[in-house]
């Protein structure tokens, strides 16, 4: 769950560089994971998902890595663009779908 009162973790990257956003999940029974992107004033937008029987999945410019041993999920964005600036959330699902606190990505032109 969220930690009330803490600021969002932030990540700043230069345009064109690769970004890695990390997420630690809590429930070892979680078998489905999703990454969402949320731009200011909008609802979260689906990026990519992965099931627990996989450790890597690739999409367009994005890759999700899952390490079940340490309950860690990461989102890699290749050749980051200004339009990638947003807050990124991971979500885990066992019997319900819970979201992490989020990371704010800022792309420097």
């Amino acid at each position: 769950g969220e930690s009330v009162g803490l600021h969002l973790p932030t990540l700043s990257v230069q345009e064109g560089d690769n970004s890695i956003i990390n997420c630690a999940y809590s429930n070892s029974a979680s078998d489905y994971f999703i990454w969402y992107k949320q731009e200011s004033g909008k609802g979260p937008q689906f990026i990519i998902d992965i099931r627990s029987n996989m450790d890597k999945r690739q999409g367009q410019r994005v890759t999700v890595l899952l390490n079940k041993t340490v309950k860690h999920l990461s989102l890699q964005i290749a050749a980051t663009q200004p339009g990638d600036s947003a807050v990124y959330f991971c979500a885990e699902e066992a019997n319900n779908l819970f979201f992490g606190t989020g990371t704010r990505l800022t792309v420097i032109p």
Partner: protein, 114 residues
């Protein structure tokens, strides 16, 4: 195609008043979720409807909060006797099945309690 629709997009109310927030999920989606997002925070789970099953209300923060889903489609989140700490964006999401599928989110209702 039509996505998840929420109304109103903004709601300003006075402390102590009741409010109703509406969510129209994507047609045919059996699962519907409500989340709350305070400024600069993550998404806090409130309630989950799945088909005709009893809803999972475990995330509702107090008995002032309730939600209904009529006819397996439209959902209404009601907050009674609103408090200033209820100010947040309330997000609705739906998906086709019971799990292991992506959620589609609406744009949310920004609730401000004065």
């Amino acid at each position: 195609g039509a996505g998840v629709s929420q109304s109103p997009s903004n709601k300003v109310t006075e402390k102590g008043k009741d409010v109703e927030l509406r969510c129209d999920p994507i047609s045919g989606h059996t699962a519907l979720y409500w989340y709350r997002q305070s400024l600069g925070q993550g998404l806090e789970f409130l309630i989950y409807f799945q088909g005709n099953s009893a809803p999972d209300k475990s995330g509702l923060p107090s008995d002032r909060f309730s939600a209904e889903r009529t006819g397996g489609s439209v959902s209404t989140l009601t907050i009674q006797r609103t408090q200033q700490e209820d100010s947040a964006v309330y997000l609705c999401a739906s998906r086709e099945g019971a799990g292991d599928e992506k959620l589609f989110f609406g744009s949310g209702t920004q609730l401000s309690v004065l």
